[in-house]
Point group: C2
Chain length 354, copies 2
Amino acid sequence: MAKVNPYEVSGNIDYEKLVKQFGVSKMTPGILKKLGTENLLLKRGAFYAHRDLNKILKGKFAIVSGRGPSEKMHIAHLAMFKAVADLQKKHGCFVFIPFSDDEKILVKGTDYVKTQKMAIENSKDILALGFDPKKTKIMFDLKHMNQDVYNLAINASSKITLSTVKAVMGFKDSKNIGSFFYPAVQIAHILYPTFKRKVPTIMITAIDQDPFVRLARDVAERMGLKKPGALTLKFLPGLSGGVKMSSSDPKSALYADDSDAEIERKIKRAFSGGRETLSAHKKYGGNPDIDASFQYLKFFLEEDDNKLAEIYKSYKSGEMMTGELKSYTISKAKKFFAQHRKNRSKIKIENYLI
Amino acid sequence: MAKVNPYEVSGNIDYEKLVKQFGVSKMTPGILKKLGTENLLLKRGAFYAHRDLNKILKGKFAIVSGRGPSEKMHIAHLAMFKAVADLQKKHGCFVFIPFSDDEKILVKGTDYVKTQKMAIENSKDILALGFDPKKTKIMFDLKHMNQDVYNLAINASSKITLSTVKAVMGFKDSKNIGSFFYPAVQIAHILYPTFKRKVPTIMITAIDQDPFVRLARDVAERMGLKKPGALTLKFLPGLSGGVKMSSSDPKSALYADDSDAEIERKIKRAFSGGRETLSAHKKYGGNPDIDASFQYLKFFLEEDDNKLAEIYKSYKSGEMMTGELKSYTISKAKKFFAQHRKNRSKIKIENYLI
């Protein structure tokens, strides 16, 4: 059976089932239109679910999208934050990006100093995607915990029973007490812009993080705050054809700091929807729907809808060879990351600190 | 059976048993001598136990003594903090006094705004006892949570399992997650001076708070910090003869803000060790060991050892009547609180904030 919670994703994920199980709503063309950006993940269906966006998009709102620091950020992480940046550009909204270095230490047991370094590196990758310094704040929990966030966390933690956290997160009594408390910190993150600015928050995450949104929604009104909404992402396919990319399996994804040579090597070895032989491919055509390179073009690299449709058709018909598709993807990816490195080198974290 | 933990004190308390159960050491004349003050609680045996003081008193140390804000502070609370102030005078040590407004909200469910008000009022009563502003810091958790304390709490919380907190505090799964986390904040308080000043801490509390010291001692070295010691107080008898004073039973104790009329009324109604009739009292004598007024003189009000011994003898022999003992106690208490009110009115909290 599939398992999807903030600390475990395994099995075959049935996104339709998750909609029911988690109580989210499916994305609609109307909401996509209101969101109103040409962001690839949005226009190509990766944000497949939401909470309360019909209501929240009628007025002002803020966006919260956080990051549990990891050694590497892969292209799907970048793409999600690109969607946040694009929504900020469109709507002029305040964006809050908390880095849960505390969570990593508590739940994953990662090293203290290393976690803080990872948080800093991750923040540069995220900010490189184009946030407005006047409307964007980041915090590293262990560096910037303040009265407001701590108060929100204590307040939230007073309204959630241990039984609830056990049920949602699946922790046992042998787990440390900080792990049980951390959801309250996450809720504090989600509600912080609402507390400061009196506008509802839209939490932007992958579906596995939705339990935190549910907990935040459970307590928000009892804390005198507006219920947060959510914009929810599917997992995006890995290079090896797996269910999702991984920050700890280098073969599974392009990472933010991959060199050109690594990009090339990874895509060349990526899972392909092509046939085993050239002649079979020409005769029967390839399968772009399972081809990792094509998925990368679709969700991350090919802005041009016509061009993407053309590649789809031509690969499916067998006209375009796998090698050709891959080298096109490689050239697009190299350009994407060259631009990313350039943007990243200009980022000054100080301009965004809470 | 007696129950003694930070959130429940009931039954007949056997202090000898607690020494074994909690693993504290009994106070010795040698340690009392090293502590070296004429403080009443110290010289009259109320601090009956300790942890590691033989070792810690050999070098520099800091003192931590906190307060869970309550509506009223009674005379035993004041007396304990007077001991802290007296030890600071003698040893010139740094004193840290954290106010756990967060704990009150989490564990007791008290009102947010009210708790913060109580913390401020309590802090004035404590600081009135004579702390050196250059060597004393207070914090209200919900107002002054900072990076250092939060980091210590997260670090501690990563090293304590839920099972341990359940066993020590007796909480059930229906309790909120903040209550399970709070011990980590308390440990952060205890270890904060050690973290900042590299000296061991002596935690000064009543015996019911000792479980927090034990938890702090369990994790300190794994956090790279010196193990804290402790100086541990018995419960002090209430005016109604109960096992301990209560901040919520006005008859049980003199409160810091009692008026002269209240002081008089409370002591007049206090539990007496006198005989039922004047003639019986004259004939058989009273019992100062159970007499609330005498206990008040002994632990809080009578500095003069000779005078105290004289009263003891004279009440026991039946020479001194209960009325006489009470009116002497009333006059001493009125003086004590008049001085306290005067000292309190001069306190500026700002001079002590972390």
